[in-house]
């Protein structure tokens, strides 16, 4: 079955792949799951206080009964769908529903105040759609060659790549470097709890039989990102925010001058986002910030408002970037099996849950899954642009739902989700523990996302490290004598050393300081 499709070279093979993907994605069931994922994604994108990470973690156990491709289609839809939803509220009521929409607030809300809310919303949707399509194309184009290249990887290369992924995630993210590195190491350690596959020894099991299989990543994700977020949100706002008033939105379609202004920014944002999404630690968040920073550096024509005062570029660029980044961040996952950020780490978990081993071989052993997912992402983007324009009024009305109605539901979904994975009450106690831990991390200024990344990569990392050293008979130099591994390690070192230079660190802080 696997050998039927070509090596991935040549347009004919590529078209074959896409038609296979089309036949998988275009079934009623998978269209339905894509729609559901996109709807859910838009919904949580609109609602502040809940994000794609927690939602995907909550829904993972529910997808257990679904066929793997349907599960991945739905979960992916949640991630890139959330990028659309966040911009709606950012533009209309200055409330970014998602962290990736924070920069959209600046020009988007300014445009609303100038009565150009409709144009801003349309720009965001159009830019997101174009970028999403391009991102999917990049994914489809690079998948085959990257996979071929990755098949030459040995365990040493995998170790070096994982290390690059972990260090990249830390360096390119916004938190302080030492803290994030420490959280990754802690995550790796927690990932090693349980039975050691090599020796059969149960490590750090504290004598409890439930720990012989280790600490489940769903439990950790729900505790750290579900419960801890809720407590942090409740701790912050004590006054109930009054429901924001939104006027009627007219004149959706941009004028020709608007098109001329937005198109270059859109293309720039798409390119930047597609690139940054692939990098480990990259993804939608970094892409949107970087795209906005770039637009700020470029001159504005006379008569146009400055960036931050309602220039359409300030909406088009970050929205394009965050969507392109969301799509291309699937590339390391689907081609190499390495998650580049915390959401992708959950996708690794989802694949493992469905007995799919993530890695370059997925494209050959399960091409229907691979290409079906990619085509469904394109379809999802099309669905989203249709959903987001006419249904804007509905989404905004949802903002009026007070948080006190929302958070008990989230607690419930987390608790049920966790219990349903194994049917053990132990998991319910554990998720409570991680909720407390997550809040503690929050108080100390430590970030939870690197911890999750380390947790999921821990066992994989150890296995590859062991195998690499077994093959080289204990010779550590194998990591620097093999060329691919050496260059990956050099890149990691360069990233770390770059942090040591105050100029780079300052510009990184400035990029996140708005």
């Amino acid at each position: 079955m696997a050998g039927g499709l070509g090596q991935g070279r040549g347009v004919a093979d590529w078209l074959n792949h896409l038609s296979l993907g089309w036949s998988v994605a275009f079934t009623w069931a998978n269209l339905g799951y894509a729609l559901l994922g996109c709807l859910l994604g838009t919904l949580i994108g609109v609602l502040p206080g809940i994000g794609p990470l927690a939602t995907i973690a909550m829904l993972l156990p529910a997808t257990y009964a679904l066929p793997p491709v349907s599960a991945l289609i739905m979960l992916a839809g949640i991630y890139y769908g959330a990028q659309y939803g966040g911009s709606t509220t950012a533009i209309l009521v200055k409330l970014p529903g998602e962290a990736t929409s924070v920069v959209t607030v600046l020009d988007g809300y300014a445009m609303t105040r100038q009565g150009r809310a409709g144009v801003a919303l349309a720009t965001a949707a159009i830019a997101s759609f174009v970028a999403g399509c391009v991102g999917t194309l990049v994914l489809a184009a690079f998948a085959a060659p990257l996979t071929q290249w990755a098949l030459r990887f040995g365990p040493a290369e995998y170790c070096a790549l994982m290390l690059l992924g972990l260090i990249g995630a830390v360096v390119l993210a916004s938190g302080p470097l030492l803290q994030s590195l420490a959280m990754i190491v802690l995550g790796l350690l927690l990932g090693l709890v349980g039975t050691d596959v090599n020796s059969g020894v149960v490590r750090f099991g504290l004598g409890r039989p439930e720990l012989t299989d280790g600490i489940g990543f769903i439990v950790v994700a729900m505790g750290l990102f579900g419960y801890a977020e809720i407590v942090a949100n409740l701790a912050q706002t004590d006054a109930q925010a009054r429901a924001p008033q939104v006027g009627a939105v007219h004149h959706l379609w941009p004028s020709r001058a608007d098109w001329r202004a937005m198109t270059p920014a859109m293309l720039r944002g798409t390119a930047l986002g597609a690139l940054l999404g692939i990098l480990p630690g990259g993804g939608a968040l970094l892409a949107s910030f970087a795209a906005y920073a770039l637009e700020k550096r470029l001159p504005t024509a006379a008569g146009e408002p400055r960036l931050g005062q309602g220039h359409i570029r300030g909406v088009a660029a970050p929205e394009a970037a965050n969507n392109a980044g969301a799509q291309t961040s699937f590339i390391p996952l689907l081609t190499l099996g390495i998650p580049s950020n915390a959401v992708m780490a959950l996708m690794v978990g989802a694949m493992t849950l469905h007995n799919i081993q993530p890695g370059p071989q997925v494209m050959q052993t399960d091409p229907a899954l691979f290409w079906g997912l990619i085509v469904s992402m394109w379809l999802g983007n099309a669905m989203l642009v249709v959903l987001n324009l006419p249904l804007i009024g509905l989404w905004v009305r949802l903002l009026a739902v007070p948080y006190r109605w929302l958070f008990p539901a989230i607690v419930l979904f987390c608790a049920v989700g966790v219990y349903s994975t194994n049917g053990l009450v132990w998991d319910v106690w554990l998720v409570g523990l991680f909720g407390a831990l997550g809040y503690g991390l929050n108080l100390l200024g430590l970030e939870a996302a690197p911890l999750l990344l380390g947790l999921i990569l821990g066992p994989m990392f150890e296995e590859n490290l062991r195998r690499a050293l077994l093959i080289s008979r204990g010779d550590w130099s194998v990591f620097v004598t093999r060329p691919i591994s050496a260059s990956l390690l050099a890149l990691s070192a360069a990233l770390l050393l770059g942090m040591a230079f105050p100029a780079w660190a300052r510009s990184r802080r400035a990029a996140f300081a708005d």
Binding site: A62, V185, L192, E229, L412, V425, V428, G432, Y439
Partner: protein, 177 residues
């Protein structure tokens, strides 16, 4: 990390909390560093119980010990930086939401599993949901019985329909026996 932002939607403006401007010698970086040192040591020393092996044949204890020491080293660096650059103290913990959420979670667990030593049988999903929502809503001041009850009943019905009937999860709806 996301926050339920309340910017620009009215409500009384609070005076800037003292924390935001304070520079304390007991910076959060110092505390974070100390915690990491302790946890790292716990793992590194705990790993001594397992065979180490050598690089070519890594035993179960090899990587945990190494990572434990690395964590402690990172923690030490953090703590030293925290000492040299006094910064924000750890954020003040709000116990009410934390305890309410944890208690709601615990109550749900108890409802599902029961407590044999106390003679409490498993109470089933419906009662569990009611208890969870009731306790969780205590997290915010000003929760009123009417709306909370409505929400609890609504979520209980939703759970029964979607989780048990729809998704087919093996959750008993009513008390056992």
């Amino acid at each position: 990390m996301k926050r339920a932002a309340s910017a620009g939607t009215g409500g009384p403006r609070r005076a800037r909390p003292r924390d935001l401007d304070a520079r304390s010698p007991w910076a959060r970086e110092l505390w974070a560093g100390l915690v990491c040192v302790l946890v790292g040591l716990a793992f590194a020393l705990g790993a001594q119980a397992y065979e180490m092996g050598d690089a070519a044949q890594m035993g179960p204890g090899y990587l945990p010990r190494a990572l434990g020491w690395i964590l402690s080293a990172l923690g030490l660096m953090m703590a030293l930086r925290g000492l040299r650059h006094p910064g924000l103290p750890p954020a003040r913990a709000q116990l009410r939401p934390l305890l309410a959420i944890l208690a709601a979670n615990a109550v749900f667990g108890l409802a599902l599993a029961g407590w044999p030593t106390l003679g409490l049988p498993p109470l089933g999903l419906v009662l569990g949901v009611l208890a969870l929502v009731g306790v969780a809503s205590l997290a915010q001041a000003g929760a009123r019985l009417g709306p909370v009850l409505a929400l609890a009943l609504g979520l209980a019905a939703f759970s029964a329909l979607v989780f048990v009937r729809g998704l087919g999860l093996a959750l008993p709806l009513w008390p056992a026996g």
